[in-house]
Subunit: 375 residues, 2 copies
């Protein structure tokens, strides 16, 4: 029984107090500027391709140093300035009451008509969502630390016991449905109590997760079985990173053989451009890519029936990927070129064309057994 | 502690044997027809508005008696005839191996190029999905009984203990994530072991479910708290029906104040037109509609900020609903007319504009306490 290398967890209250302190400091600095009769301003790091780079050493997509100086006395910035403090204030209320809420709820909490004007604080949620990201980077506090969450998605089962919001849950007795991975998987909510898992297997498709769960793959192979139902949410990514670190086990990723599958893997591995500021907290640079790979078509003698012609969009996407610095290694260039050369893509479900449990009995054990993965 | 009125459950094997027997009979009848040198045919009940009606007595949307006579010796029907047996045969394999699979997987299992021809058995999944529905109605076996499932969605927590695929799960210790409701919730997979729940509360929005779970609403009010994350899946609907019957408790439904929310409620209550053949197994005619209602705007003194103008599409949809026989009762006509007259819709999250826990502390307890719901 591996004993999880659990770091000393801050309690939820301690963590909340720290975040509140950051918000208070932001406000106090601004008040101070006003007192000095200066133009109050906040520096918001720029979140665009132009300010993002791939750090070869950490193998993460990271945000650069460029920032926008958001001023109050500036017609084009005054509204955003006001919105920033409105959202910060609502987050402070959440933190102080110990409650968490959805980014949709936050929009409603902060939306109102400004007194004596016909102007709304926010007209739609896209406006408040951007401000949330602004606050995350400028306060260096993830939205989960601001007590905000996006939609929940994904499930897990396996030979491990966790604590979720104070409840101890044995993930080896979760039936057919599994444990529903919450939106916030920070250490003050989720802790790992004990684990016999020797690795984590993340599958893109929920149907494949179901197949593996029904076949009790995780029991035989002692692994934590996770699905993100498509692209992994922030909650799933944070959980995966924490498991690899705290349990000291590797992560294998099984996705469709198409550019979208490669993208899902790539975000898990080194983060994404739009959320580069959170790579440090979510990415797993050592994540192992199990497939599906174009060469699997021949290797596993799959039938022509499972080939799906690449669409124009797939080709464009794959060609973009060839240019990404994080796919510059020779094996990735080959992998992506293989896809383009073959001219077809495949879904993981394609393996069912051979046999319904082919993925369980042959594909995964053989790949992991032979060390046949890419990183 | 209420003791669930659990009917004698068939085991999974008994149930599978019955379904296999139905498939065998279909095949045997066809072989018999061939031996008689007749044209083999299957009668497939027609699943269209023209063959659907609202049964005032059962208060369910039900399928009529009209059927299509699908013949083998008929150029326009031969392919579908072949497909029907192909899918039936794959389901028989699933049932005999005790495995379940996704409808996507089934497509791959049955897709191949016909020997000596360039014709594929199926070109895309929409073709096999239709055949699955054909088989469901003609065999009188839901897809879950054919061991097929669609995507999984939805979560539950509450003061009850269930058995899921042999694992006993206490739903009062499920942390922040909850129990993930599986795609197949038939009695041979899910059983109710003990329950203190006095009612079921289904909320459309996952974020609202999260709010209620964090506030431990289900603990204070002794209810099973369920979200369908939007429209309830077949698995969720089947589970709700079974809970109302086997636990003998009422179901309350909380949805957005818009035509889509009314539709979600209406499908839970009396079934849908496209899946009329399964109403008997899934609908809960006594389901209680808690809101959100147009009149809540004034009653709870909500702010103008939460009003969202109705779009053309909303108006069209609401007008269609006025004409449905299942909304003919005076109170429903008033409810839908109210929405049209107000000219705006509201989301449940709108209640957060008053206070983040307004839905938990005021809205739901007050409505249930005063018996203020529609059926």
């Amino acid at each position: 029984m591996a004993s999880p290398k659990t770091p000393k967890h801050q309690t939820r209250e301690e963590r909340a107090r720290k975040t509140v302190a950051k918000i208070r400091k932001l406000a106090a600095d601004t008040v101070e500027t006003v007192r000095r009769q200066d133009n109050p301003a906040i520096d918001i790091p720029i979140r665009a391709l132009s300010n993002v780079s791939f750090n070869e050493e950490t193998r993460l997509i990271q945000l650069g140093d460029r920032a926008q100086h958001r001023e109050f006395f500036n017609v084009s910035m005054a509204k955003k300035f006001m919105q920033t403090f409105l959202v910060a204030s609502a987050c402070k209320d959440l933190l102080e009451s110990g409650k968490t809420t959805s980014i949709r709820d936050l929009f409603y909490m902060t939306k109102h008509t400004i007194k004596g004007a016909r102007e709304n604080t926010f007209d739609d949620q896209t406006e408040s969502d951007i401000i949330i990201e602004d606050l995350e980077v400028s306060l260096d506090a993830l939205r989960e630390e601001l007590h905000l969450f996006a939609a929940k998605r994904g499930s897990m089962v396996g030979p491990l016991t966790i604590v979720d919001a104070g409840d101890t849950i044995d993930l080896s007795h979760m039936g057919s449905g599994g444990w529903s991975i919450p939106s916030i998987t920070e250490e003050e909510i989720i802790q790992f109590k004990k684990s016999e898992a020797q690795y984590i297997l993340l599958v893109e498709k929920e149907a494949v997760w179901h197949r593996l769960n029904e076949d009790k793959f995780w029991k035989k192979h002692k692994c934590a079985l996770v699905t993100g139902n498509g692209q992994a949410t922030r909650g799933v990514r944070r959980l995966l990173q924490r498991m690899t670190r705290e349990l000291g086990i590797p992560l294998y990723v099984l996705v469709d053989n198409d550019p979208w599958g490669l993208y899902i893997y790539s975000v898990i591995k080194q983060g994404s451009i739009s959320l580069a500021y959170e790579s440090m907290r979510m990415a797993v640079p050592d994540a192992r890519f199990l497939g599906l790979r174009s060469r699997d078509f021949k290797r596993f003698k799959l039938s022509d029936d499972v080939r799906i012609d690449l669409e124009k969009e797939d080709e464009t996407r794959a060609k973009q990927m060839l240019a990404y610095p994080w796919f510059k290694a020779k094996h990735w260039q080959e992998e992506i070129s293989d896809l383009l050369k073959c001219g077809f893509k495949m879904e993981i479900e394609a393996l069912s064309n051979k046999d319904i449990s082919f993925v369980t009995d042959v594909y995964i054990p053989e790949k992991i057994g032979k060390g046949d993965w890419l990183t």
